[in-house]
């Protein structure tokens, strides 16, 4: 690990009378979940490395309302949305990047109707743009030649038609990108969406995350790449359930890129 993380808040930017280039929306998983926090930090290390002037809302950030909305609680969703939009608009935020496809989808698609209009990017899209602009270089490092399969998050892929940015980044690692039987627009859900993350599944014959992990195992990857903290958890649990922890790692794309450069 290199030097300490630079994570300025919007309040600090405001105090200096400056605007950041982009707001990093960390999300609840990225803020509180032990596994997702590692992804958050990896992404911050990349932002620091590329000298991106970014800020976080910190304690002023609150749940986007996605799980409430998908559970059917439109009231709670809109309360959350309107509160968040007030904060974002007060800071005159124009551009937002997030490592959570659920936050990405909600802010990008459902906030405009409630008065929140921002350019919203998933962190894989943002990293891709840094790469294209020459602000970030990607080396394969330890991942050179590794077999990596990418699990499409529903809220990034099908929901918003983003399929290539994460794949382009994996290819840049000189890794061998292999596709599962169900991928891209036909990608199989990890089982966490629609607020399922917070409840037990209905009776059935199998857990969805296990079914998806089996599809991944079929293509014999060394790494399952994720682009969503919920998928990350579900796939990690799936790999554990199939006793494959010693062979298969589940890693976010930001972690792959940061680790490849020993950041």
């Amino acid at each position: 690990m290199s030097s300490t993380l630079k994570v300025p808040t919007m309040a600090e930017f405001m105090a200096e009378g400056k605007q950041p280039e982009v707001l990093f929306w960390v999300g609840c998983m990225g803020s509180f979940d032990d596994r997702a926090k590692k992804v958050t930090k990896a992404f911050v290390r990349l932002l620091n490395r590329a000298n991106v002037e970014f800020a976080v809302l910190g304690t002023e950030e609150s749940c986007t309302g996605d799980p409430a909305k998908r559970a059917g609680n439109e009231f709670l969703f809109q309360m959350q949305a309107v509160t968040n939009i007030e904060v974002l608009n007060a800071y005159e935020i124009k551009k937002i990047v997030t490592a959570c496809p659920h936050c990405f989808n909600t802010i990008k698609n459902e906030y405009p109707g409630l008065g929140g209009n921002y350019q919203v990017m998933h962190h894989t899209q943002f990293l891709k743009s840094l790469l294209d602009e020459g602000r970030l270089t990607i080396e394969g490092g330890q991942f050179k030649g590794k077999r990596i399969t990418f699990h499409d998050p529903c809220y990034l892929g099908r929901a918003n038609d983003v399929y290539e940015a994460p794949r382009d980044l994996i290819r840049k690692l000189d890794a061998e990108l292999v596709e599962m039987k169900s991928c891209k627009s036909r990608g199989l859900c990890c089982g966490a969406g629609g607020a399922q993350m917070f409840k037990d599944a209905e009776p059935g014959t199998k857990e969805i995350n296990v079914a998806r992990t089996e599809q991944a195992i079929d293509v014999k990857p060394q790494i399952i790449a994720a682009g969503c903290p919920f998928c990350n958890t579900m796939m990690t649990d799936g790999v554990k359930a199939k006793d494959k922890e010693s062979e298969i790692q589940v890693m976010d794309i930001a972690e792959l890129i940061a680790n490849a450069q020993d950041l």
Binding site: V7, V26, C28, G30, S31, F32, K37, T40, G58, T59, S62, C63, P67, A68, K69, R70, A71, G72, N73, E74, F75, L76, F77, Q78, M79, Q80, V82, E86, N105, N109, G113, L114, C154, Y155, R158, A159, N160, D161, R186, L188, C189, G191, A192, G193, G194, A195, Q196, M197, F198, K199, D200, A201, E202, P203, G204, T205, K206, E207, I208, A211
Partner: protein, 433 residues
């Protein structure tokens, strides 16, 4: 001259089209039971969707075998129906093959029809085998018993018979065979009748001709009672289908108004309620009338192919949820409501039933991961997810009937801005960990 056949034909045509028109009116009435929704946006994208998805079958071919066979049947039916125009004119006026006067082109047309008829016949047989012999899983799901199962097979039988009648009609039309212009397939069927007298062959031809046109009129009227309605409704349905990103759920306007009022510091919380006789809007849907008309059109358009269900992660892992069943239940309930209105002089009489619980169970609704696989899979832009979401909204906002764990999650979001009981003030702690 004997006008009786012409008169009989005119009567058959009148009844056939008239009864169908009557049912179409009912269909439109039923669809309009749904509440209004603005679909005036993105007109050019909507036309494009209709052209690509319905006319161009772009989603059908995602599964190449079924897609290819379906295109044959689809193209076959559209093109062969040009022949129906000739039949109708002949039937009404008493002519015989009125278009044959156009010369060699007539042979090209009829030849194409005959080839297509044969291809359709073969395709339909393969469809039947896939359904009944190979027993492809999606055709044998729980909801595909009794009527839905028979309906699917009846459609295939009717199509086989219609194609056969068309070919037999041409084969036994000796005048047409003698022209030797366009009888590319039927010439091989003609020898089967060689032992019969000319007048018998003529009777066979007349019978095939009549059965063919009566069959078409019958099939037209069968549509209203069948999943086969998709041949008509796929077009408007793809036009009115979702044009926003799949991940975008609508923000309920009734809720927005209330939330804005709650958040507005200038609102006097002690102000008297404005006097209004308006019934407060119901949040979400518990019955078909609570859905919007596009969702009801979706239900009538569904042809129960089951691609949605076969892609559904919940269904694949043995849960009760089947997006196809959501659509079938919606249509069944809508038709029940429609019949209720018909028998009660145009007014719906409370029947103690509703879409929720009597058709769609809560267990099905809560099994959905909102992954949009069903929406993506549908070849005609049906959105089962939107119905699931509206019913969840009813359960949560009208009945407070969410699963307990979700209530915990929502309480946390409400109290501390995260789905877990972590303090919002700790949101940046990761920075220093």
């Amino acid at each position: 001259m004997n006008y009786i056949p012409n008169i009989l034909f005119a009567i058959a045509l009148f009844i056939g089209i008239g009864y169908f028109a009557k049912n179409v009116k009912k269909l439109i009435r039923n669809i309009q039971l749904g509440h209004d929704v603005d679909v005036s946006d993105n007109t050019s994208q909507r036309w494009k969707n209709m052209a690509m998805i319905a006319m161009g079958q772009s989603k059908m071919v995602k599964r190449p075998i079924a897609g290819f066979l379906h295109i044959i049947v689809y193209v076959g039916f559209i093109i062969i129906n040009i022949e129906v125009l000739e039949i109708i004119i002949d039937g009404l006026v008493g002519t015989h093959r009125i278009f044959s006067g156009i010369g060699p082109l007539y042979g090209v047309l009829i030849g194409a029809f005959e080839v297509l008829a044969l291809l359709v016949f073969i395709s339909v047989i393969i469809f039947w085998i896939r359904r009944n012999v190979v027993k492809i899983k999606r055709f044998w799901a729980n909801e595909m018993t009794s009527w839905p199962k028979s309906d699917a097979n009846y459609i295939l039988y009717i199509e086989m018979v219609l194609m056969l009648l068309f070919l037999v009609m041409n084969a036994t039309d000796l005048q047409f065979q003698n022209m030797n212009n366009g009888n590319v397939i039927s010439q091989f069927i003609t020898p089967l009748f060689s032992g019969l007298s000319e007048s018998t062959i003529h009777s066979v031809e007349r019978t095939a001709w009549w059965l063919h046109i009566l069959g078409i009129l019958g099939f037209l009227n069968y549509l209203y009672f069948s999943k086969h309605l998709h041949i008509l409704l796929a077009f408007p349905n793809t036009y009115y289908g979702k044009v926003k990103p799949k991940g975008e759920l609508d923000n309920l306007e009734a809720v927005t108004n209330e939330v804005k009022m709650m958040m507005d510091p200038n609102v006097d919380p002690f102000a008297a309620q404005p006097e209004t006789t308006e019934v407060p809007a119901k949040f979400g849907a518990s019955d078909v009338q609570d859905l919007n008309w596009v969702q009801l059109l979706n239900a009538y358009t569904c042809t129960e192919c089951g691609r949605c269900t076969s892609e559904c992660p919940a269904n694949q892992t043995g849960k009760k949820l089947s997006p196809r069943k959501i659509m079938m239940d919606t249509r069944d309930r809508l038709e029940e409501v429609g019949r209720n209105i018909d028998t009660n002089n145009g007014v719906f009489k409370e029947d103690g039933k509703q879409l929720l619980d009597d058709y769609i169970t809560r267990e099905e609704l809560w099994a959905c991961t909102t992954c949009n696989a069903c929406v993506e899979a549908c070849p005609v832009s049906i959105d089962p997810l939107s119905i699931i979401m509206d019913m969840r909204r009813y359960l949560v906002m009208e009945q407070s009937a969410a699963p307990m764990e979700l209530n915990t999650m929502m309480t946390n979001v409400e109290n501390n801005g995260a789905p877990w009981p972590y303090n919002q003030m700790d949101r940046l702690n990761w920075k220093n960990e």
